[in-house]
């Protein structure tokens, strides 16, 4: 539906192109100011229209309020949703959530003006988000320490390249890695997908940074569902229920873990989930996850009773 805004490169069926990155800094700034302020202006005008007793103005207010409501409902949704459908050419930019797209543009702006490279700037922007904090804490990594180290790398790299083509190339590469990493049940690419993709990029600074904290692309990929669901697991559950469908297995499992954490006020690191999966009975994925969830729930109750706020691997083994 949003295709016409995007220029398709010759000879490529799946590509990444974003008109915002093709504009100059002033253009991007202008777009940002206009799009951010237009919603506020429209809301005020709509309220005024609804309070005026002239028939057609009132109905214009109704129409405008329906449009605003639609924008509100779809504000976090990507323009298109996976699986790739319709024509054989696809721009991956359309499958990015609006906030993920903003993060890419913001990282590009910072790298183009201040230097530091696209990847490090994007990592810094993403590391401030709840999704990435959740992913890091799930991997038992202190996000404060990670951010400090990231800042040190960024300062060290500030004198580096700022040229447009190289930065665009880096953005394109990252989005393609995120696209290749995504699971079948994911509908869009969000903060968590971009951060996990950083783990798959052969960038000297990033590899060195991730080595310091002893995690890699595989670890990041495993905690993506938690990053995507944090703070909105209930919205996800509600959406599946409204559609009358069952949540896909990975999302259902991650939602259940988040629910156990909320109920028993504990944190369940990914290492403990691995222990539970290894101890869980069953042959199929569903049987195994169901058994693992039982073990995790018991371990959470045990940890909570002894006053611990983390469910450790040995707790899961103990309550088996």
């Amino acid at each position: 539906m949003f295709g016409p805004l995007y220029r398709k490169p010759k000879g490529k069926d799946v590509f990444f192109t974003d008109p915002l990155l093709e504009m100059g800094y002033a253009g991007r700034f202008f777009v940002r100011v206009v799009t951010s302020s237009s919603i506020i202006v429209q809301s005020v005008v709509t309220l005024m229209a609804l309070s005026i007793e002239v028939g057609w103005v009132f109905w214009l207010g109704i129409l405008s309020s329906l449009y605003l409501l639609d924008r509100l409902i779809h504000f976090a949704r990507s323009d298109e949703q996976f699986p790739l459908a319709g024509p054989s050419t696809h721009n991956i930019a359309l499958y990015l959530s609006p906030r993920a797209r903003r993060a890419i543009v913001s990282a590009y702006n910072k790298a183009a003006v201040l230097g530091g490279g696209f990847y490090l700037n994007l990592a810094r922007i993403l590391s401030e988000t709840a999704a990435v904090s959740e992913m890091l804490s799930r991997l038992d990594i202190d996000s404060g320490a990670f951010n400090s180290k990231l800042d040190a790398y960024l300062v060290r790299d500030l004198v580096s390249y700022k040229d447009h083509d190289r930065l665009i190339g880096e953005a394109e590469r990252l989005v393609f890695v995120a696209f290749e990493n995504k699971t079948d049940e994911e509908k869009d690419l969000d903060y968590a997908n971009l951060f996990a993709a950083l783990g798959g990029i052969e960038n000297e600074q990033l590899v060195s940074l991730f080595d310091v904290f002893e995690f890699g692309a595989d670890d990041l990929r495993k905690v993506v569902p938690f990053g995507k669901l944090v703070g909105r697991a209930w919205v996800s559950r509600l959406a599946w229920r409204i559609r009358g469908l069952e949540a896909p297995p990975l999302s259902a499992f991650s939602c259940a873990i988040l629910k156990i954490e909320q109920e028993h006020k504990v944190k369940i690191p990914y290492s403990s989930i691995i222990v539970a999966m290894n101890h869980g009975d069953g042959v199929s994925y569903q049987e195994k996850t169901s058994s693992a969830l039982g073990l995790i729930r018991n371990a959470a109750i045990y940890a909570s009773k002894k006053g611990d706020d983390i469910v450790r691997g040995e707790d899961v083994g103990r309550v088996e």
Binding site: M1, F2, P4, L5, P19, L20, E22, M23, A26, G27, R28, F30, V31, V34, T35, V54, G55, W56, V57, W59, L60, I62, L63, L66, Y67, D70, R71, I73, H74, I242, R243, G244
Partner: protein
């Protein structure tokens, strides 16, 4: 800057088209999902009652009538709501245009 103005205008138009797509196509999907859900609920309410409990067998006739009534009532309510849903934006556009031209 020209690119930026074109981008904003094109984005606005696409959002506007998107609104109607969401309203009509998305709305139809939601109504269909609700209809299927209601059908499943009614089916669950009346399903296999006579086979499992012989005492209830006597009431199977009235139960079937009740089931049919619930289907008809549910379908009618849904159809009315769906038609109302379809005409809301069109009514608003008609009122705006006719009021503006009057």
């Amino acid at each position: 800057m020209n690119n930026a103005v074109v981008y904003i205008a094109a984005s606005f138009l696409q959002r506007l088209v998107g609104f109607f797509v969401h309203w009509y196509i998305g709305g139809t999907r939601v109504f269909l999902a609700i209809a299927l859900r209601l059908r499943a609920v009614v089916k669950k309410l009346f399903g296999r009652a006579g086979i499992e409990r012989p005492v209830v067998f006597v009431f199977l006739g009235p139960l079937a009538v009740l089931k049919a009534l619930m289907y008809v009532l549910g379908a009618n309510v849904l159809i009315v709501l769906y038609l109302a849903w379809l005409i809301i934006p069109l009514t608003a556009i008609f009122k705006v245009v006719s009021g503006f031209l009057a």
